[in-house]
């Protein structure tokens, strides 16, 4: 793994030897240890792990919210030092401004552009997420799935190189979630933006990702990177899909140490 950053295609996200420690009252806590990951432009990468495995911290470092870490994180060869427009982010909660309409929310991040260009991009992205008829609605009038679609439109309106998705479907009901996974897939195929999805849902990770990065907890490390060589749209009940799911599932639940089988 001695390849230099220059070897990667332009726009790659390269993470090398990344470690992150939080200082807490009880002492330092290692959230991430020795993370190496390269994401090529246009890829869809899913990161799965249990709660506390540092997957959200990893995403926040890529976003530029956390800057105090060891190792290297570069996007297109440039180190990430702060949040910026080359990265878009969708959070678990939609974070729409309740006092702005849907179109105003999408335009919120469009700054320094001429008015007609702003209008054009808002329309284009409303159409992308299929909410043209809700342009004038307020967030309180939208369902959870619709709100998250607006949040995706807002994040994409700036045409970022990479879209970071921090458990964006985690709060949705099971049916809306599946619908939104299809939606995400369609948007990714249409926009060809690099996407990094953090999730605790193995099915979701497999349905969407070119690769599934499996993380283990305390400290957060990459346990395995599972390529998903299935063509899209993927059939969740196909034998290949099930086999991959079983494999990833095993990474979390098979390695039970014998001691824990006994209780007093």
């Amino acid at each position: 793994m001695s390849e230099s950053i220059i070897d990667h295609p332009a726009g790659s996200l390269v993470i090398q030897g990344l470690s992150k420690t939080f200082q807490q009252k009880s002492g330092p806590v290692t959230a991430l240890a020795d993370i190496d990951l390269t994401i090529a432009p246009g890829q869809f990468i899913s990161i799965v792990g249990g709660s506390g495995c540092g997957k959200s911290t990893l995403l926040r470092i890529i976003a530029g919210f956390e800057t105090d870490y060891a190792g290297q994180v570069t996007l297109g060869g440039k180190p990430i030092r702060k949040p910026g427009l080359d990265r878009g982010m969708v959070f678990q909660e939609h974070r729409l401004l309740p006092w702005l309409t849907v179109e105003q929310n999408i335009a919120f991040g469009l700054n320094g552009l001429p008015a007609d260009e702003v209008r054009r991009r808002v329309e284009e992205h409303l159409e992308l997420v299929g909410l043209e008829s809700f342009a004038k609605a307020y967030p309180a009038q939208l369902s959870g799935g619709m709100s998250q679609r607006v949040a995706i439109a807002r994040a994409l309106a700036n045409r970022p190189d990479i879209l970071l998705l921090d458990e964006p479907l985690g709060a949705l009901d099971a049916l809306t979630k599946i619908q939104m996974q299809n939606e995400l897939l369609r948007i990714w195929q249409a926009e060809k933006t690099t996407m990094v999805l953090v999730t605790h849902d193995i099915d979701e990770a497999l349905f969407l990702g070119d690769q599934v990065v499996v993380m283990s907890s305390r400290p957060g490390t990459i346990k395995r990177i599972v390529p998903v060589p299935l063509c899209r749209p993927r059939d969740r009940s196909s034998p290949d899909f099930m086999e991959l799911r079983r494999e990833i599932y095993g990474e979390f639940f098979s390695a039970r140490s014998p001691e824990t089988d006994f209780s007093i």
Binding site: A63, G64, F65, K82, P83, G84, L85, R87, G88, M89, F91, E93, R95, L97, P98, W99, L100, Q104, F108, G109, N111, Y138, P139, A140, R154, N158
Partner: protein, 263 residues
């Protein structure tokens, strides 16, 4: 039509609930007065107060007093709103400035408006200036404090969002901080207006020759309790009506909120 009749009934019931307690209190008061349980010197009957009230209205005296008090309240409150909002927005948004003015605000805030009367007279004489100043001082702090608080409660998640979208500072203030703080700013304005009405009575202790406060104090010296009561009721009414206006403004400005309005 059944539906229309029903909604009319509903509205009537709603209104009845709204005025129930004041009407019961008035009836009880009148009852006790009529049977001589309450002596007129202590508390004149509602009928007597209504009669005096009507005389004050007819003679145009009440309108004159309401006019001068209202003008003072409007002037003092407008100054307090302008000053409180400007200073509050500045102190809320710019941390360094906020730190600078924090201690003086905390030291001056607890001083009751009445304690300012001697200084107000020295600074502004016994004319309108001193009265407006007392009202200003009373209304200023609730507006200021609520504005600062409202701004400081800006959700950090929106701050993160604005950072990744590289939203310029001015847009952030205009589209995130101010709308978010607006409900609390409106609360500050309503409390400020309420206090302004209270302060006008204190202010009219200073060599006033008109105003509801003057009317009350003047009647008190002559033991005209019925006029005192008529003045007090007018005060309460004016306070309620002006608060209603601000509440209307609030619902118009804060349309997006789905707030709890009671079980």
């Amino acid at each position: 039509m059944a539906i229309k009749g029903n909604s009319f009934l509903n509205r009537t019931a709603h209104l009845a609930g709204y005025v129930l307690i004041p009407v019961l209190l008035l009836a009880g008061w009148q009852f006790l007065s009529s049977f001589g349980v309450i002596r007129p010197m202590i508390l004149p009957s509602p009928a007597q107060v209504a009669e005096v009230f009507w005389q004050l209205v007819e003679s145009g005296e009440l309108a004159k007093h309401v006019g001068s008090s209202a003008l003072r309240v409007v002037e003092g409150f407008a100054l307090a709103a302008a000053g409180g909002l400007a200073l509050g927005v500045g102190a809320g948004i710019f941390r360094g400035f906020g730190r600078l003015v924090e201690l003086p605000i905390q030291l001056i805030k607890p001083i009751p408006p009445i304690a300012w009367i001697p200084l107000a007279i020295l600074w502004f004489g016994i004319g309108e200036g001193a009265k407006v100043y007392i009202i200003f001082i009373g209304a200023f702090f609730p507006i200021l404090i609520n504005t600062i608080d409202g701004i400081r409660q800006t959700d950090v998640r929106f701050v993160e969002l604005a950072r990744i979208l590289e939203v310029p500072r001015w847009r952030f203030i205009r589209q995130v901080i101010l709308p978010g703080a607006l409900p609390q700013i409106m609360t500050g304005l309503r409390i400020g207006l309420n206090i302004a009405w209270m302060c006008v009575v204190a202010a009219e202790l200073i060599a006033a020759s008109s105003g509801i406060g003057f009317l009350i104090m003047d009647a008190r010296l002559l033991s005209q309790t019925d006029i005192v009561l008529a003045g007090m009721i007018t005060m309460g009414f004016l306070g309620k009506v002006t608060d209603d206006l601000l509440q209307k403004l609030e619902t118009r400005l804060v349309t997006w909120r789905n707030a709890f309005s009671g079980h």
